[in-house]
Amino acid sequence: MNPIMKIILTFYFTLIVFLANNWISYAILWLLAIISIYFSGINIKTFFNGIKAILFIILITVIIQILFSVNGNVIFNYGPIKITNLGIKYGIFIFFRFTLIVIASTILTLSTKPLAIAYGIEKIMSPLNKLHFPVEVLSLMISIALRFVPTLIDEISSIIKAQKARGANFNNGNLIKRANAIASIFIPLFLVAMNHASDLGDAMVSRGYKSNVKRSQYHHYHINHIDWISCFTYLLFGVLIVFIRK
């Protein structure tokens, strides 16, 4: 699918999630989410690994809602904690809403390369160019930063190993000692990063890079029939939600 279409549909899905407010509308959204997961071709195991981290935050939000809700019939009362039937209902709705949004964005990030997402966001934000907001420069910087993330992670682990080999201790000591230990990692990391930057900068200057000319893309993305089918499906579900919500 086209990354632009994927981003727009993910945003659209988030919007219709906010429209849902009863059991049937949430059931319909779950159906749409399951259909999307199925057709995205993502392995279910990878998918659950993707949402595991955020599931913890969702559960905490739900527990806060259930423990500190305002109205409804009280089922259980202990000190400041009042559990009401409405509280539990809202808790479940919040769980659905949050999880559905996370599922949609996980489908986007797991099925699309970060560079493709950056491309999509650049194209969606391109009207801002007229306001002299440098969308393309920002997108170029995101691409450069993305490319150097794995390199820098490697550098950090080798710097930590090198400092440990020299007898550095990162695990105990007071705040100042720990700050010094962090400095012994950060300063080499910073210098390595600046070396990468000057290499890449020289390479770009010597090839005559200019930021204010029209650039061509290495990857070309087209909108094909799959994009239109999914667009139509999402619109259909959106209309359904509007009619079913209370």
Binding site: I7, T10, F11, T14, F18, I57, T61, I64, Q65, F68, S69, V70, N71, K82, Y90, I94, R97, F98, I101, V102, A104, S105, T106, L108, T109, P114, I117, V137, L138, L140, M141, I142, I144, A145, L146, F148, V149, L152, I156, L175, I176, A179, N180, I182, A183, F186, I187, L189, F190, A193, A197, S198, L200, G201, D202, M204, V205, Y209, S211, N212
Partner: protein, 188 residues
């Protein structure tokens, strides 16, 4: 932005943003009630970029880092946009405070300058983030997720946001005060 920086500086800013992003991945929650507020060192490259190339450089690094985080970890979704925005705002407040304090304290003895920097940056960060959380971020988040709560936002700010930002300001300030004098010698 093209007018502000040449190509080499743009690349430097992009790579500082990458360093900042990598440091943001190593984040630890420090306030038990609010596990979504995490302490990380991603402000250090932003502060160094600010001191090297000016305020607009710092803002650019913070923007690129936040967008990168939003695309990759936040899944480009609306609720994560709120969190990314508040961390972006915190970076901007911190870099402005540090920049102006360090520029205006030139004549004082060195130790006093750094201690003043840590105190004033922490104060600015705590005040700005408390107000932002009180009036914008937390109400927006509660409304977006649809929480119906019996405890109030000011209480959350008092028990979570204020201590978090005091700790964050002091920790980042001390590490920056140790790192920057050494780095500025090497850069020059």
């Amino acid at each position: 932005m093209e007018n502000h920086f040449d190509v080499k500086q743009l690349v430097q800013l992009a790579i500082l943003a990458a360093v900042s992003y990598v440091l943001m991945l190593i984040a630890i929650p420090i306030i038990p009630v609010a596990p979504y507020m995490k302490l990380d060192l991603s402000d250090l490259p932003i502060l160094i970029g600010t001191m090297m190339m000016g305020i607009s450089a710092g803002i650019t690094i913070a923007t690129v880092k936040s967008l990168l985080y939003w695309i990759t970890i936040g899944g480009a979704s609306l609720p994560s946009l709120i969190g990314v925005f508040s961390s972006w705002a915190a970076s901007i407040v911190l870099l402005l405070a540090v920049f102006f304090v360090l520029k205006s304290f030139k004549s004082h003895t060195r130790k006093l300058k750094w201690i003043m920097m840590i105190i004033l940056a922490t104060l600015a960060l705590t005040i700005a983030m408390s107000l932002l959380n009180l009036y914008v971020v937390t109400p927006l988040y509660i409304n977006m997720i649809g929480l119906k709560l019996s405890f109030s936002v000011p209480k959350l700010v008092a028990i979570a946001v204020i201590p978090f930002n005091i700790i964050k300001g002091i920790v980042i300030g001390i590490i920056f005060a140790i790192i920057y004098p050494q780095l500025s010698k090497i850069i020059k």
